[in-house]
Amino acid sequence: MAEKPRLERQAMCDRLAMEFQDGWIVNLGVGMPTLCSNYVDPSKEFINHSENGVIGYGPLAAAGKEDKHLVNAGGQHVTAMPGMSIVHHADSFAMIRGGMIDVTVMGAYEVAENGDFANWRIPNRKGGGIGGAMDLAACAKRVFIAMEHSTRDGKPRMLKRCKLPVTAPGAVTLVSTDLGLFEITPQGFKLVEHAPGWSPEDIQELTEAKLIIADDLREFRFRAPCKQ
């Protein structure tokens, strides 16, 4: 059976970014979550925080226009925005642990219905890449996850309990996958928006944990077409 089309990564991240509120301080993880910064809503301003101590930076620098001393958490050259400021690493994580980050968006290997998630250690491999993920997961006001719904070999990532070592227990509140948008409730995953053409049953089939279907389940929301 040829599978139905899944959501694009940009759409997954746009959907999370639509939840950001005006004035929020946002920390975007390396990789897919960075796509959230492409979402623009003229009615809202977000403040980008990066672990390496930059608050209020702007979009990626155009080629040839890089400031070689200014990078985001992914090591990408970003631009200085008016109001930007710099702190050192201990002060940057003081902001994180101090609860100043309104939302962090991260990738994950697994998310569990109890809000646990795992993104730092691959199975059967020595060591891990924690970076600032544990600090952010434990201390940001909200942890959103953007990840593919299934592994490359088709196994579910939305689990009853994480199999991999967790990054933080019970931290996740919202997950955007290529099949839909999921809230984490005390009762477990609640499917609130589904990818076009995907029924709740289709999605449940690819999900280990039992899904709660929102009463007001609706189709996945995409951002309005870009005006530029």
Binding site: G53, A80, A90, S92, R97, G128, G132, M134, A138, V166
Partner: protein
């Protein structure tokens, strides 16, 4: 007062013995003390413990990985003991997988705070980071205001290698943009702090006292990166 200015990186690292703990800042390739690391690589000290955000990148630039690859490092204390992408097989990753190097994996904020604690004379601190994870196993737990915390220890160093933008002759330092990263806390945490200066070393009085990122009392040796040095 003692002159802190050294003419070459080789002189500045000449006395570093085997077995010490060095701290090397840098994040995303910015603020990495590449000239000092290169000099330490030439100098050949062995059995080192390195403290750094990661254990070297995939590019061909000098970084902590250069010392790792040369077998000078016995242990890394860092926030990444595996790459963010499985394709990034650095020298460290290969050696670590072969048990040829030891490592301690620390969440980045805890790593930063442990260095700050060492510099600030704090004997230990409680943080909520890592609670409920594998990394908290064996650590002392304590519930504070209804939230579980773990106890973390200060992380002092013997030598810190610093990459600054400007210095004065007393060692007051300024950084540009995200070059700052771990630099100030490593300068605090280490007994001896050696600085490579990218832009210029000015006379005392040339830097605004309100705009100094590291006070010169933390700085022991200063080297201006020469025209043929590593600027990135």
């Amino acid at each position: 007062m003692k002159n802190k200015i050294y003419q070459t990186f080789d002189e500045a690292v000449a006395d570093i013995p085997d077995g010490i703990t060095f701290m090397s800042p840098g994040f995303g390739g910015v603020g990495v003390p590449r000239n000092l690391l290169a000099a330490l690589n030439r100098q050949g000290a062995k059995g080192l413990t390195g403290v750094s955000n990661n254990a070297g990148n995939m590019d061909d630039k000098v970084d902590v990985g250069t010392l790792v690859q040369a077998g000078q490092v016995k242990k890394m204390i860092c926030a990444f003991t595996a790459p963010t992408h499985p394709s990034q097989v650095t020298p460290f990753v290969t050696m670590y997988n072969n048990d040829e190097i030891d490592a301690e994996l620390v969440p980045q904020g805890t790593l930063a705070e442990r260095m700050r604690a060492a510099g600030a004379g704090i004997g230990g601190f409680y943080t909520p980071t890592s609670v409920g994870t594998e990394l908290a196993e064996g650590k002392e737990h304590r519930e504070i205001n209804g939230r579980m915390h773990v106890l973390e220890n200060p992380l002092p160093g013997d030598y810190a290698f610093i990459r600054a933008w400007k210095s004065d002759t007393f060692g007051n330092l300024q950084f540009r943009m995200t070059q700052r990263n771990f630099n100030p806390i490593m300068a605090m945490a280490a007994k001896i702090t050696i600085v490579e200066v990218e832009d210029e070393i000015v006379e005392v009085g040339q830097l605004d006292p309100d705009q100094i990122h590291v006070c010169g009392i933390y700085v022991d040796r200063i080297v201006k990166i020469p025209p043929d040095g590593i600027f990135d």
